[in-house]
């Protein structure tokens, strides 16, 4: 879309001056609420504000508060915003909004008199239905929602909205030269219908059906409303339900790949400082040997998953940082020699937690859910109350954690007990989504021996697995703005991480392998695999009998899930500790673009689980207003991608947000 963006698609306008002055002259003070309208520019028009100022001066009105809220009709957001801002002494609220916004406010504050300052503007052009709405995008086509669609018969031109008289059985006969007799500016809809029918070599068949005005009953309406309200509030605000695509892999048991010929072990595959190499070119190493050591408090050592010779320490293309990064490359000698100096703690209950934590650090365990945060740091949280095991695999396609919970539930429970011991918590919750009954049953059986562990299921929604959403679902507590769950005594570990933790303590095994879901229409073999960390992607393509040469031409390869994963343009990289899946997807018919214009439909606001304003960040980022982004709490964004998924204009909102985050927070910090 060019820059013809819609300046005046206003849904309401100020009432007549005389009317407002008369209403307001009896009143001494009000709190003023403006809706920053939908389908219009993001700022209120100065004209409206000036006009209202004139009126308020005329009626000697004192305005105690002037609050502006975008999308006033969004009840949940508006109510939480007003709780913070509206002064408790408010006696009267004057609202400038469409009828829905005004009614929302009045239902939120039933005790306060409401003054409507505006009239809603009718948007239909037909007689049958007083209101007709656009679809979600701006189009000149309209739909009256009549409940008995006749477009099939009328070649796709709607007689209800396009004909001034909304005639269903043919033209009225009053049109002149193709123009309507009601308003000479509009074309006769029936003439258009007939000419298109002719093009399609069809004839108009009047089946003489009558318009059914009762096509949609009030009771049906109630059902829809209730469903919608549930969707909004449970288990968390917003979120989306993308097609889950898990069918093809959810019943495939975990399998091993054959050992790779070489591994590429990036020094940076955990949050924090990259590891420092301990080996040199030509050294020979065994399975499980430490080849790089942690550098600093938040950092982890690295172990090799194959035995062989260090071929090189050079730079390879990193799949998350998307640039060449240092890595140790080891060639397999095929001997499968194991390093035998594993330390085991079968009696962990009698061991000092600090010794165990040191051991966990030595085994290089990082969060396997994708964030790759060192697990020993997470487990050293003081004053933890609740431990949550995250088994909510909310990303489409991914099924690796679900398989782990099915096949290794007893190991998982043992791991939970170890983690609970280290943290000193009494309450452990294993959280999973309702879509994996098998995992629920398997875990419930395994948890029978552990009285402190309980298994909970939550409705399937994306991003249920995000930390803050999970905390809210499990404990009904909210993580305050700018805080992380450990600040309120809650520690969250991924299910795969807990099993790795158990293996490290009981078997002494360092983190050298992880689960990986290979799925998507372009893989010839799909499934859940146990893969050595550092396995080059070429090896995975070889094992799944898939030709990688069409990546980027015919289809896209994503590392991680389709919502939050990164696009990998070639196979010259390797699996790292945070690789949850390899997904192949077709190119979308319409690509998300950074340059398209926002129509302010507000769907992104509707789905943002953090209750932010993604559309505003786009507008600010385009104008490089980084400070405004900061004011609108951009840092709270968890980059879940719901806004990108839902955007009606297919704007690449996430890339705008990432850019704005960089400029608003990180770039300025380095300058100062």
């Amino acid at each position: 879309m060019a820059d013809v963006i819609v300046k005046d698609l206003t849904k309401f306008r100020l009432k007549q001056k005389e009317e407002l002055v008369e209403t307001l002259s009896h009143i001494s003070s009000i709190s003023l609420l403006w809706c920053e309208k939908c389908f219009t520019a993001e700022e209120l028009s100065d004209k409206d504000i000036a006009a209202f100022k004139e009126i308020s001066d005329l009626s000697h009105l004192s305005i105690s508060q002037d609050i502006r809220i975008p999308f006033l009709c969004n009840r949940i957001k508006t109510s939480s915003l007003l709780q913070e801002t509206l002064s408790p002494e408010t006696k009267r609220i004057a609202v400038a909004s469409c009828g829905i916004g005004i009614q929302t406010i009045s239902s939120l504050f039933p005790d306060l008199p409401i003054i409507a300052l505006t009239d809603s503007i009718p948007q239909s052009l037909n007689a049958t239905s007083l209101t007709a709405f656009h679809g979600i995008t701006l189009a000149k086509l309209m739909c009256a929602g009549c409940g008995n669609c006749v477009l099939t018969k009328t070649a796709g031109i709607c007689p209800v909205t396009a004909c001034a008289k909304s005639l269903l059985h043919g033209p009225c006969g009053g049109a002149k030269n193709g123009m309507c007799e009601v308003s000479p500016e509009r074309e006769c809809a029936w003439e258009k219908i007939f000419s298109r029918l002719e093009k399609q070599k069809k004839k108009w068949e009047d089946s003489s059906t009558l318009h059914n005005f009762a096509a949609f009953s009030f009771s049906q309406h109630l059902v829809y409303r209730k469903e919608n309200a549930l969707r909004h509030e449970k288990p968390f605000y917003g979120g989306v339900h993308p097609p889950d695509e898990k069918k093809s892999t959810e019943s495939s048991p975990l399998r091993h790949f054959s050992p790779p010929e070489k591994v590429i072990l990036f020094l940076s595959q955990h949050a924090g400082m990259p590891a420092k190499p301990l080996v040199q070119r030509g050294d020979s190493v065994c399975i499980g040997e430490k080849i790089a050591d942690a550098d600093g408090l938040i950092s982890l050592p690295l172990h090799t998953g194959i035995s062989g010779t260090v071929r090189d320490i050079s730079t390879e293309w990193h799949p998350i940082l998307l640039q060449p990064m240092p890595a140790i490359i080891i060639e397999n000698n095929g001997k499968n020699l194991f390093s035998d100096n594993y330390t085991r703690f079968p009696n962990w209950k009698d061991t000092d937690p600090d010794i165990l934590l040191d051991h966990i650090r030595e085994t290089g365990i990082a969060g396997l859910g994708g964030a790759m945060f060192p697990t020993n740091v997470k487990l050293s949280v003081k004053k933890a109350r609740i431990l949550i095991i995250n088994g909510c695999e909310c990303e489409p396609f991914l099924t690796g954690d679900t398989r782990l919970m099915i096949e290794r539930s007893s190991e998982l429970m043992e791991g939970c007990a170890i983690a609970a011991y280290l943290l000193g918590v009494k309450e452990t919750v294993v959280a999973m989504e309702e879509n994996s009954q098998e995992a629920f049953l398997s875990c419930s059986t395994a948890a029978q021996n552990f009285s402190e562990i309980r298994i909970e299921q939550f409705p399937t929604a994306y991003p249920q697995g995000a930390e803050k959403m999970l905390v809210q679902a499990v404990t009904d507590e909210k993580v305050p703005k700018g805080k992380i769950p450990p600040d309120i005594g809650i520690v969250i570990l991924n299910a795969g991480t807990v099993i790795a933790l158990r293996n490290a303590i009981i078997e002494g095994k360092p983190l050298i392998e992880r689960t990986l879901t290979v799925s998507g229409p372009f893989f010839r073999e799909k499934g859940n695999f146990i893969v050595t960390i550092g396995t080059p992607l070429n090896h995975i393509f070889h094992e799944t009998k898939t030709d990688p040469s069409d990546i980027g031409k015919e289809w896209i390869l994503k590392m991680g899930g389709p919502m939050m994963g990164t696009i990998v343009p070639h196979t010259r990289t390797a699996v790292i500790k945070g690789t949850t899946g390899l997904i192949s997807q077709p190119f979308p018919a319409v690509k998300a673009s950074e340059t398209r214009d926002c129509i302010r439909c507000g769907r992104c606001v509707d789905v943002c689980p953090m209750k932010l304003l993604p559309l505003d960040y786009v507008a600010h980022a385009k104008r490089e207003e980084w400070k405004a982004c900061k004011e609108k709490d951009l840092l709270s964004c968890i980059e879940c991608g719901c806004c990108n998924y839902i955007c009606a204009s297919k704007i690449d909102i996430l890339s705008h947000i990432k850019k704005a985050k960089h400029h608003a927070y990180y770039a300025s910090e380095t300058r100062e």
Partner: protein, 216 residues
């Protein structure tokens, strides 16, 4: 932003006999779209359509052109579209000489002006009365859209038109009581000005709206 439901099966089956290309728009999927019903309907007639295209926001002309481009769909004889009325019209406009069939009925739901589907509706009457009626709209909350008080037909607070519906005027009256102002004096009796809905008044607005839509 519209609500749709599937047309009755006996209307859809004759269309399938023409082996149409099926287009499903799941654009408003997070709202109300009968996705499961459509897929289960199609699975009952697996060989009766020539292809299935899943897309979103079919109503956007720019996207519609991409989804239904020549390379993607070649030239089907007929197209069956599951989407709201706007989506079907957009597709029909783009396909022109290829007949389109509507698979869904779009339901009349007033008041999707903003983003949320809320309990509240707005009839866009052009003369907002909410400041007289305690913030409860008599046009949408009353089945009869009465402006001058209750009709007297309500029983136990429920509407005589649809017993699932509460009487809007009883709600207004209760709200007035709460706010301590029962003021239905004869002067406040309103007569609805339907002229505010006329094309003369809205026409200019709508043409502005239409002009704002980008041209090809």
């Amino acid at each position: 932003m519209l609500i749709t439901h599937l047309k009755p099966e006996n209307e859809l089956v004759p269309i399938l006999s023409r082996k149409p290309l099926v287009v499903c728009c799941f654009g408003c999927a997070e709202l109300f779209f009968p996705e499961e019903e459509i897929l289960s309907f199609l699975s009952r007639y697996p060989d009766s359509y020539s292809g299935l295209i899943r897309c979103d926001y079919l109503c956007n002309r720019e996207f519609c052109k991409e989804y239904l481009s020549q390379e993607r769909i070649h030239t089907p004889s007929t197209v069956l579209i599951f989407s709201c009325g706007v989506g079907i019209q957009s597709a029909a406009e783009h396909l022109e000489s290829i007949p389109v069939f509507a698979g869904c009925d779009t339901l009349m739901v007033n008041g999707f002006q903003g983003i949320s589907i809320t309990e509240n509706q707005c009839h866009q009457c052009g003369e907002c009365r909410l400041n007289e009626t305690g913030g409860i709209c008599p046009i949408t909350a009353c089945a009869k859209g009465l402006l001058n008080g209750p009709c007297g037909g309500a029983k136990n607070g429920k509407c005589e038109v649809d017993p699932a519906m509460e009487c809007g005027w009883e709600k207004i009256w209760c709200r007035w009581k709460e706010q301590g102002k029962i003021n239905l004096s004869p002067t406040s009796i309103a007569i609805r000005d339907y002229e505010k809905l006329s094309t003369g008044r809205t026409g200019s607005f709508s043409s502005r709206q239409i002009n704002a839509v980008p041209k090809d």
